[in-house]
């Protein structure tokens, strides 16, 4: 009998999705906004349950529940909670509110499986579950042409990404006779060289994940989709979904390809350098806030890849901890920035950066929050983004990626330019009209959570560093070679 306790949180979130649909159908939401709160509370409960569950490897290691997966689950669920909370105020206005939250929940479950995936099969299922849910969510504002357009674009390009990945999986399966990472690794170690066909397989899998994290050259979809999708969905996609890609990428590279770090590292370096340079240069030229944040997100993915490039096989160095930590704080600061963008867009009807003009007079607290998010994204202390970026670069340096770290450091200065250009509108320019911008209580609460997290992580990063260390230790232990059958469940770090 397999111990299914590690899957309780996954089941909870699935149940939550069904519950909100039922609540919506039963018209319980006369008392508006309750669905968002229910989802948020459910997500927080799932975090707690997740950490209470035992470590285990289910189905011959296909699904792994360990502190590594839990650390990422925490990120996804935290983002889900904040996004659900922020969506709550719009609930009376959107049709099918129940389905909206349900799809968000299912997307989150997909991401949770992505982080737990110990085989290419589960990885593919997890990625697909989250991507397909997000496709529906991107087009959720049906009457809005941009939203529909974004959904179509996301669907087509996402399908290409999935197809590539599935193709890669099938090649690996054919060569290794299995899709579990342990099996792939043992086959890989057995083969002397690194045959071209394997290259093709791995390349396709990495490309599929590249779509998920929106790294150059797989980034094309991001700006249009981010701009067209409902902003709360953009917030979710740009953080949870992106970090989900990293959770899978790290485990795949370090465990399945662990035997040949020198082979895959140049690929990651190229992805990283491309994302940093191109994302930055294109972000500078943007006038639309969400597009700018999309390109800045591509750059941020590049920074994360610096740490990934610095990770080497079976090494419990800084890389994993850095990615976990940055994933978490990036979630808060980026969601926060998108929420502010949403408030402005709802009120002024414009998504341009100039729509933020004079925000300090129209809504001082929101302006202050935006300033903090922007500076945090720019990596300014004492905000979270600073510690996170330092940690990422340290990890890259530790792995000997000196040039890449140098590039990242220079790029952060360029990045500061476009963040400051937004800060200029928010804080320096005076508004054309002085009317106050209303902010609903739910959005205020969500933004406040993001602000507190951004500040707290920046000032006292120790708890998050410890979380990252635990995750790294868990991945290290998982990567250590051992016969798969001998490990039914439960090992404590």
């Amino acid at each position: 009998m397999i111990d299914l306790r590690p899957l309780i949180p996954h089941c909870l979130i699935v149940g939550l999705g069904i519950l909100v649909v039922l609540l919506d159908a039963l018209r319980v939401r006369r008392n508006a906004c309750c669905l968002g709160f229910v989802t948020a509370i459910g997500a927080v409960a799932a975090i707690a349950l997740d950490w209470m569950g035992p470590d285990a490897r289910l189905w011959a290691g296909q699904v792994v529940a360990d502190p590594y997966s839990r650390a990422f689950d925490t990120i996804f669920l935290a983002v889900l909670a904040v996004v659900a909370l922020a969506s709550a105020s719009d609930e009376p206005h959107i049709a099918f509110a129940g389905e909206y939250y349900a799809l968000l929940c299912f997307a989150t479950v997909g991401l949770m499986f992505t982080a737990s995936a110990g085989s290419l099969l589960i990885l593919y299922v997890g990625i697909e579950l989250s991507t397909i849910c997000l496709m529906a969510l991107v087009g959720f504002a049906k009457r809005d042409r941009r939203s529909s357009e974004a959904a179509v674009k996301f669907f087509v390009l996402g399908a290409v990404g999935s197809a590539l990945m599935l193709y890669g999986c099938s090649i690996v399966f054919g060569l290794a006779g299995g899709t579990e990472y342990g099996k792939v690794l043992s086959v890989l170690s057995g083969v002397g060289g690194f045959p071209m066909v394997l290259w093709l397989g791995f390349g396709c899998v990495v490309a599929g994940l590249g779509f998920k994290i929106a790294a150059v050259p797989f980034h094309m979809w991001a700006p249009d989709v981010y701009q067209g999708a409902p902003t709360t969905i953009t917030a979710f996609m740009s953080t949870a979904s992106k970090v989900g890609g990293f959770a899978a990428l790290l485990r795949f590279l370090l465990v399945a390809l662990g035997a040949a770090p020198d082979r895959w590292a140049p690929v990651v370096v190229a992805l990283s350098a491309g994302s940093i340079v191109l994302g930055n240069l294109l972000a500078v030229a943007q006038t639309n806030l969400k597009r700018m944040l999309a390109y800045s997100g591509i750059t941020q993915a590049g920074y994360l890849l610096v740490a990934v490039a610095g990770a080497s096989a079976a090494d419990s160095g800084l890389a994993v901890g850095a990615v976990v930590m940055y994933g978490m704080l990036y979630g808060f600061m980026n969601v926060g920035a998108f929420l502010v963008a949403q408030v402005i867009e709802d009120h002024t009807g414009s998504g341009e950066i100039t729509a933020l003009k004079g925000l300090h007079r129209r809504q001082p607290l929101l302006a202050l929050a935006m300033l903090l998010f922007l500076f945090s994204l720019g990596g300014i202390p004492p905000l979270a983004g600073f510690v996170g970026k330092l940690y990422l670069f340290a990890a890259g340096w530790e792995g000997g990626r000196f040039a890449l770290v140098g590039l990242g450091a220079v790029a952060s200065v360029i990045a500061l330019y476009y963040y400051l250009m937004v800060a200029l509108q928010v804080y320096i320019k005076d508004p054309d009209d002085d009317t106050r911008i209303p902010v609903s209580r739910q959005v205020s609460l969500a933004v406040a959570i993001c602000v507190v997290a951004t500040l707290a992580i920046g000032i006292y990063p120790k708890p998050l560093v410890q979380l990252g260390d635990r995750a790294a230790a868990a991945l290290h232990a998982y990567a250590a070679p051992r016969p798969l059958s001998a490990v039914p469940s439960a090992q404590k770090p």
């Binding site: 202050l368 670069f393 770290v405 500061l416 200029l424 990063p461």
Partner: protein, 503 residues
């Protein structure tokens, strides 16, 4: 209690800054008083530190260590030696003066003072940090508020809009800190243990080759803030655009952070690298001195004159530093202090003149001494300190710098001394144009002398210039004690004995 003294100095302005944000904007007086309290609260502890520093023991004292992120070796570690205490004194004086100087500031006062105090707590943080992580963190806190301070409250000059100046300044300084970040990572990962502690890093001897290139990074990174040629261009634009209190702080204290960083991170941790590059540092410093002074001579905008004079004077600081002997470095730190006070005074006075004359164009001024005699006297005192007239603090500082350089590279010392002459020319020219000569009063109906709060800061700063000039010994000793234990500053035989006042 004493362990918390340094933390208190860092937190006092920070707390005031946060309290200010919570006050309603309409409470003008309360806002100013809170800001003054936050700034001035750092003054008594700084003086207390100077008096209670154990001169026999020397080294770093008043230590406080709190483990922050043990697994990465990040520790909140603060401690000061004589050198840092002098810088703390300077900062406390300038921020107190700065709050006074912005007493009549009207536009978004609350946020202005809040940012000013935030910036200053970063400056204090840099001066007390013994952990590289925190040093860098505070360094950036000290630099970034400048963007908003200049962007919102600055003035657009003929050459540049305030937004452009602010952006240029921020990006150039952040470019510098990118270099520093890389240098810090290089240091961090060449240790056997994970630590950012500067005490431990100083004990480690890094390979000469590594020292050479890491020092260069540190020198260029911090050097941008110290205004080294050719990375000084942010400084005139920034200072000319900035409001009075910000110029005071920036030229008075912030630029010193750059030199302080080169000394603490560069020279102290990488002595070999410093020796390798000392000639380059000396040459650049000489260019700074001459180029800054010549540029100052050509300006007609009063603020640009002062700004370029800062470039020139920071050259003297870097010149003393480049000598790498105790005399020169002593002079360098003294020059930081002296120039900090002097330039604070200058910018405060320029602020006063601008407020009354509504113009900073020197060519159209004249005979102001009749209407504002007090300002004229104070300006002259500052001017005299500027070209190092004996009995002002500038004399002792510049003398030590040039003498120190003479011992190392006589040719550079000779060249840079010409800078003093040029300085005298432009200072006297400015004083003469503005205050003397035929009165040009019809254009300036609002001219009048300084008033209550304005006197406080300016007179105190001017008095200090003279007091330190006449009795430099306590300060020089404090600095000297700090330097004795700084690796990289070679104590040549008998060199300590020629210090004025003796060691």
């Amino acid at each position: 209690m004493t362990a918390w003294m340094l933390t208190f100095i860092v937190l006092a302005p920070l707390t005031a800054s946060i309290v200010l944000l919570m006050l309603p904007a309409a409470r003008g007086l309360a806002i100013r008083l809170v800001a003054l309290a936050g700034g001035a609260a750092t003054l008594p502890p700084s003086i207390w530190l100077a008096l209670n520093y154990d001169r026999k023991a020397g080294g770093f004292q008043f230590e406080q260590t709190v483990s922050w992120v043990p697994s990465l070796g990040i520790t909140y570690h603060v401690a000061v030696d004589g050198l840092s205490i002098v810088m703390l004194l300077l900062t406390a004086l300038i921020i107190t003066g700065g709050v006074f100087a912005s007493w009549t500031q009207k536009n978004r006062t609350k946020e202005f003072l809040s940012l000013l105090l935030l910036l200053v707590s970063g400056v204090f943080g840099v001066f007390v940090s013994r952990d590289l992580f925190f040093l860098f963190l505070f360094y950036e806190i000290a630099v970034l508020p400048m963007y908003l301070l200049i962007g919102v409250w600055g003035t657009t000059t003929k050459l540049r809009t305030k937004e452009d100046s602010a952006m240029k300044l921020t990006l150039m300084l952040m470019g510098g800190s990118a270099l520093i970040l890389v240098a810090i990572l290089a240091l961090y990962f060449s240790m056997d243990q994970r630590t950012f502690d500067m005490g431990l890093l100083a004990q480690h001897s890094f390979s000469p080759e590594m020292q050479r290139w890491v020092f260069l990074l540190v020198y260029l990174g911090f050097g941008v803030l110290a205004g080294i040629f050719p990375f000084h261009t942010w400084s005139p634009d920034g200072h000319a655009s900035a409001p009075t209190a910000v110029s005071m702080l920036h030229a008075g204290v912030l630029m010193k952070l750059g030199a302080y960083g080169v000394l603490r991170v560069g020279v102290a941790l990488l002595p070999q690298g410093a020796h390798d590059w000392s000639f380059l540092m000396g040459v650049i410093a000489t260019i700074n001195i001459l180029y800054g002074a010549c540029s100052a001579m050509g300006q007609t905008d009063l603020k640009y004159v002062i700004a370029y004079s800062s470039v020139s004077h920071m050259g003297v600081v870097m010149l003393g530093l480049a000598s790498l002997n105790p005399i020169g470095v002593n002079g360098s730190v003294m020059q930081m202090f002296s120039h900090g006070i002097m330039t604070g005074l200058f910018f405060a006075l320029v602020g006063l003149i601008y407020e009354r004359a509504h113009s900073r164009d020197i060519t159209r001024m004249g005979g102001f001494a009749r209407k504002m005699p007090g300002v004229a006297v104070l300006m002259s005192i500052g001017g005299m300190a500027s070209f190092g007239l004996p009995a002002t603090s500038g004399f002792i500082a510049e003398f030590l710098c040039f003498y120190g350089m003479w011992l190392r590279y006589p040719i550079l010392a000779l060249l840079s001394v010409i800078g003093i002459v040029i300085t005298a020319v432009y200072v006297l020219r400015v004083v003469q144009k503005i205050f003397l000569g035929a009165p040009n009063e019809e254009g300036y109906p609002d001219l009048r002398d300084a008033r209550t709060t304005e006197w406080v800061a300016t007179v105190a700063l001017a008095a200090l210039l003279i007091v330190v000039g006449v009795f430099p010994r306590p300060l020089v000793r404090l600095v000297d004690l700090g330097l004795r234990q700084t690796p990289g500053v070679t104590y040549a035989r008998g060199a300590g004995a020629v210090l004025p006042g003796g060691p």
